[in-house]
Subunit: 339 residues, 2 copies
């Protein structure tokens, strides 16, 4: 790595509970890091001020020139205009021109994307998408946490559509007209396998079969307190109702992944997020449905794998975004996206 290949990017991961910031190099290595709590209820100004303060502190200690700032936002982001349109977990964020605000405050070009799209770029370049060059050109990512996010790299480019809202794989239909989703639609994948939906399905199952659900209720400390974490814990402890709920979750995830496979013909399908981390067997349960039902040609060199990067994926991916959007073509990350 020579010359400007040694440049750094400031990657920011803006989540509902914390803001992670890091100086990231072209190989995806983190050189310095800050984490601050997100004042989620305080409105955009307070959060931006905290982001700018932590960003300035990192920039002051940067050991090399910094090319720009990339931000992954848990919400809907107009990547063309650099505007945060809305955020389910942050109060008062509507049409916030975050890219312009950061450029003004930090004196660097700034680019935005959705947080899971940032993770997708990182997993593609440095994580589960790594390996065969052509394999990493066609990677789809589904992250199952409280919500379900997604991202797709196809032909080496991030596929996010006209404004960058695309890639919302958690809001593909799983059951037409089915369970209400937080997004306003019915029957989304998220409305079945997202953490909030697992908890809701479990509470309904317990209401139907109080006897079968005793262990889950005890685990959670009350029927109304059941969370996805409690369901997973009870399932691991051998509770049959919880185990069946999680097995069903895996199968439903598999049916959702069929849509991703048939729409995008990826080589690697990467599954991550808190629900997957809490129960890694979901990957295999979902993969079985895909192998059983997808059209055979789609399966020939498809790998369904867990995410390989840890909690740094968001900031690393935000760094990838800077390199790809600012047109640096010297480094592997430069192929991640060129929209």
């Amino acid at each position: 790595m020579t010359g400007s290949g040694a440049d750094l990017c400031l990657g920011i991961d803006l989540g509902g509970t914390k803001i992670a910031l890091a100086l990231v190099d072209a190989e995806g290595r983190v050189h310095a890091e800050r984490r601050v709590e997100t004042a989620a209820a305080a409105g955009a100004e307070t959060v931006i001020a905290a982001m700018v303060e932590a960003g300035r502190a990192l920039l002051a200690e940067a050991p090399a020139p910094v090319l720009g700032v990339g931000v992954g936002v848990a919400g809907q982001v107009d990547t063309v205009e650099g505007v945060v349109r809305s955020t389910p977990n942050l109060a008062g964020w509507h049409d916030v021109p975050l890219a312009a605000r950061l450029t003004d405050a930090l004196g660097l070009p700034a680019v935005l994307t959705n947080d899971v799209r940032a993770v997708t770029l990182a997993e593609r370049a440095f994580g589960a998408g790594r390996g065969a060059n052509r394999g990493s050109d066609h990677v789809a990512v589904v992250f199952v946490g409280t919500g379900v996010g997604g991202g797709v790299v196809s032909g080496g480019r991030l596929i996010d559509g006209a404004h960058g809202y695309g890639g919302e794989l958690g809001h593909m239909t799983l059951v037409a007209g089915g369970r209400p989703c937080t997004c306003g639609a019915r029957g989304c994948l998220e409305a079945y396998v997202g953490g909030w939906a697992i908890a809701e399905r479990a509470r309904q199952a317990v209401a139907r079969s109080p006897e079968a659900g005793r262990a889950m209720v005890a685990e959670a400390g009350g029927a109304q307190a059941i969370t996805a974490v409690a369901v997973q814990r009870a399932a691991r402890a051998g509770d049959p109702l919880a185990a069946e709920l999680m097995a069903e979750t895996g199968r439903l995830l598999g049916h959702g992944l069929l849509s991703v496979v048939h729409a995008f013909n990826p080589r690697r399908l990467v599954l991550g997020g808190g629900v997957i981390e809490g129960m890694p067997t979901l990957v295999e349960t979902a993969a079985e449905v895909v192998r059983d039902q997808a059209m055979p040609v789609f399966l020939e060199d498809l790998e369904i794998v867990p995410a390989a990067l840890g909690r740094e994926a968001g900031v690393v991916g935000a760094g990838c975004l800077v390199r790809s959007r600012l047109g640096d073509t010297r480094e592997p990350t430069a192929k991640s996206s060129d929209e």
Copy 2:
């Protein structure tokens, strides 16, 4: 249009009942045309021979140089290798290296894609995707005929994944584990709204409610003879069961389109194919579901429109494919795909 912009392409649309061939210019105009019946049961050699014969006849009368041959195939095509992997409606087509065969026989470079992907390129460049430049960079197409096909142009490029199998929007999940589909999966969009599925749903509805289905049965000449065309005809004639079946079909299509909108964030969503042509009100019924349920930011400049090109879309799109794959960057079609 000057110089080599006057070059032509030989576009071929290989369907289950007919082969259409045409000389197409860079503006999507057809200069000469042939249509021959597909000997669907006779195997690949017979069909290729007919294709070559008609192709040679067209090339002999070409008024300008011909750049290459493009073929849209009703089936799964490895676009990278130029191999037809399988075709639901043509017997004996398995792993046929059609591109190489046509190059040998016609002395021109040949490229393949799926037939609806070819239509997508044509609609994007010369049909319903036309207009605002940026609008035509983000176009999704769903064709509802006997089966349901699809194609997506995103960022100006055809999105068809690692081998070119992607874009199978008819085989995205609509109901997890639902009705069996001809592709081997359960619950695909096609298994609800494809022509064969409409007929199947209608026969089942008539079996449940023989009285209500009398008009449909009379129209078809017997309960087991009910086809999608008969259902549409009875619906137009005011038969309430047929009308409800078609209204339900439109709503189900809308739920399927939600997946397309959230995954791809297109500006134009183009609906075509025999079932849509037979009942154009399906476009509005489906669009209502999308407008009611999609996340608001996705709707801001989304247009859901009927296909604008007629039966020539397949050959014109195959011509677009030649220009984009052979790297001609002078004409509008050159932006269609550059995989």
